[in-house]
Symmetry: C2
Subunit: 160 residues, 2 copies
């Protein structure tokens, strides 16, 4: 994603399935965010490791990290959801998209979402969906540029 | 949900897991809707039956029907999604909520969503989420009355 001169090849971006060893890096990225800062607690990884085990054993969960020259620079979580509506459409839900602070503005977010859309297609999905907090105005423009339509309102209820 | 006199007990509403035999009734309800009419094709149940098989074999999918005196009057699809964000929160996604035309305005929608929220809690979810088409103004009021917050925009991309 960094720009090399004509003589040096660009750094290689790889998107791969997350392992348990990636949990601290992913949680750090989740927390390094205006909304995530209040929601996450990287000092206690226990609940995250338990959640990772649930994700890892479910074949419809695809938690990935993007790595650039061996450094983790992004993450997202794609879930494949079969359904009856829209003529039996299988959909993909994208959650927890983060780009490392050092890599923002580099086009990595675009690469990550493009990867997710291609992966969703490969997995047989005919619809990709995500929600974005109403306050993330820049993110809304970003998703619209990538071909998403802000056709819905997203409702949430916390069960505390 | 119907109102009986003081002497007749109210009809019994049951919410139960959908079986393959429920597919035609569910598809009919999906299609009997301003948006669903254009999206669904009840004349060809094949793709719906294939999708039902995928739903039925996945322990995180909970496709249910509501029955009143043996008649199917509602449906919704709840998906349990483990995740790392929000301290390893497991969330529930609600999709494909429909109330039969004969039962609308009876409070059945409220009963269905309240059932889904209770079921999500029972299944260990700490967050329930759904999206509603931006044109469904009545639905937005309905979800807000039930305690949901319209905190997000919902983005979708069709992969055709």
């Amino acid at each position: 994603m960094t720009t090399g001169s004509a003589d040096t090849p660009p750094d290689e971006l790889t998107v791969r399935r997350a392992t348990g060893d990636d949990v601290p890096d992913i949680v750090a990225m989740l927390a390094d965010d205006p909304l995530g800062a209040a929601r996450e607690n990287p000092a206690d990884l226990g609940p995250y490791r338990a959640a990772f085990a649930r994700i890892d054993e479910d074949p419809n969960q695809h938690l990935v990290v993007a790595a650039l020259d061996g450094k983790t620079v992004g993450t997202l979580h794609l879930t494949v959801i079969p359904g009856l509506s829209r003529r039996g459409a299988t959909r993909a839900l994208i959650e927890a998209v983060r780009v490392h602070g050092d890599a923002r503005g580099s086009g990595l977010g675009t690469r990550l979402i493009e990867w997710a859309v291609a992966e969703a297609r490969r997995l047989g999905c005919v619809l990709v969906q995500l929600t974005s907090d109403a306050t993330r105005i820049d993110a809304h423009r970003f998703y619209e540029r990538l071909g998403f339509e802000a056709s819905h309102l997203g409702f949430k209820m916390q069960l505390d």
